[in-house]
Amino acid sequence: MALASRSARLALARPGRLGLGSCGAPRRGAYEWGVRSTRKPEPPPPDRVYEIPGLEPITYAGKMHFMPGLARPVFPPWEPGWTPPKFRRLPPLHEHPLYKDQACYVFHQRCRLLEGVKQALWLTKTKLIEGLPEKVLSLADDPRNHIENQDECVLNVIFHARLWHSTEDIPKRETYCPVIVDSLIQLCKSQILKHPSLARRICAQNNTLSTTWNRESTLIQVHGSSGAQLNAKDPLPPIASQEEVEATKNHVLETFYPISPTVGLQECSVYDVNDDTGFREGYPYPYPHTLYLLESANLRPHRFQPDQLRAKMILFAFGNALAQARLLYGNDTKVLEQPVVVQSVGTDGRVFQFLVLQLNTTDLASDEGVKNLVWIDSDQLLYEHFWCLPVVRKKAVV
């Protein structure tokens, strides 16, 4: 035999038999999701008569019933003038007035970034510093700033939120998490008598934030409403000095090849580019001071991991700072002489994450130059564990 291998002989005898169809395409493609019985049935193809140009096919439309031999009539689609609200469909995305060709990657409250803090740092062109800055720590350590009976007050707050606040035996996280945060803010407000400048702040809730920026030719937008936000009449003073800000020029942002930095963000073609701090002009407390982000879902899979929560805090604090900077200094991309500082606190009722972000530059399109700074204090436990019911063994409380 001229050809030894059976497969080669087969290839010559029956070219299509080897499995490769025309031009190397597979006979059957890879599995397609969706069973055929649940897919929508295709409309029947029009009669071949319609393909002949210039010919008017004779249909049974006038006869009002089917007649074998005549063509199937094709009726123009009927446009009812009005649809009941139950069956109204949205117009296709292309016709929306805000539709744009370039897709924008939107970060909202439920976005979980795959790489967590690393990805958030790349998106906001920020350098991470572990631990809060000394200015903030010194405020906390100063005994003059302490509340009298501080430990007792905080213990009372914890007991109130986790045990006394509701009538259930064991209150759920959705109940006790906002109560803890509100009570702690109230404790801080109780110091107004000692520090009257605290009265120049106000707590706002459910405001919508929206900012867009370019990051190496991808448009990124932060859009959403955070839980509670503390606004102040005076801006926060910058924390890092000019030398430290200049030193960030040498810092290189971490990349995470092969994952793209926009993984986890929602790709959107219909979006609005205008910045929105959530407050109108002339609001008496214009400067954002602190954001409070709560993770109060009852089930653990619905809550964010601490890493993802920190990433969300970074992005929302950055969004607020950027919107504020654009409001004060205009939309041009430049290095800010007066950096904008925003703080953020994230919690799930027991573990707290603290964050201070300093916005040094609005030039985010390139990777070089001055970077923003963020100080993170992560995973601070307020209390280890809380038992609501007494443990009883052999009819005695242990």
Partner: protein
């Protein structure tokens, strides 16, 4: 006209001899079924030819497959167990049924599937987690590359943080194969252990997918060259 056909068909139930081509009004009388035992049985020549009529029909089972999702997701999807029943509702395979409730994770068996917007050619992906899949014996790995995440069958020593290469390129030299990479069979050296094999490029893996399965790549059997 329909009445005439019906009575012709039901006429076989009648024991009285009937006259063919009876005009209109007497047709109604012919439709009565007489129960007279003394009358002779009708001979075949008396029965008029007529189309068969189905007087009873079986109930069709209300079976809708749970596989209605057309878009790929990483989130687990609720599924319904078959219990060995087919679309008619009757048991076709015995011994199947029961067991813990499971959610289906959509596995992508076509390894070399570049994204829509990316450049054509071999690409890399990073393994995020390896976890247990209740629907199969093998573990599955969540891999991410570019802008998307997908599930694939995990190999034995795959761990979180590994990088895997998906390629469709066959060079002159055989590729130094690493565990977890995907190459066309023609690019792999003889003797590599392979799994998740597809019969033709672009079809998706259909063979050697179970836990512990692995086959040695050899040139002796009928081979597909691509």
């Amino acid at each position: 006209m329909a009445l005439r056909a019906l009575t012709r068909a039901l006429g076989c139930l009648s024991l009285t001899p009937r006259i063919a081509n009876v005009p209109g009004p007497s047709l109604l009388l012919a439709a009565q079924v007489t129960n007279n035992v003394l009358l002779p049985l009708p001979s075949p020549s008396m029965l008029l030819p007529c189309r068969p009529v189905l007087t009873s029909v079986a109930l069709s089972a209300k079976f809708v497959s749970w596989k209605s999702r057309t878009k790929y997701t990483v989130m687990p999807v609720k599924m319904r167990k078959s219990g060995g029943r087919n679309h008619t509702g009757r048991i076709q395979v015995h011994g199947i049924g029961g067991g813990h409730k499971q959610r289906y994770r959509m596995i992508d068996f076509l390894r070399f599937r570049p994204e829509q917007q990316s450049k054509p050619g071999p690409f890399e992906e990073k393994v995020i987690t390896v976890r247990y899949d209740p629907c199969r014996s093998a573990d599955i790995a969540l891999v991410a590359g570019g802008n998307r995440k997908r599930w694939i069958i995990a190999t034995e020593n795959m761990q979180a943080g590994d990088t895997i290469l998906n390629s469709d390129h066959i060079g002159r030299m055989a590729v130094a194969a690493r565990e977890g990479d995907a190459h066309p069979l023609g690019a792999l050296p003889v003797g590599t252990l392979i799994n998740n094999v597809e019969s033709e490029p672009g079809r998706g893996a259909q063979y050697i997918r179970a836990a512990g399965a692995g086959n040695v790549h050899s040139n002796s059997g009928p081979s597909i060259q691509r």
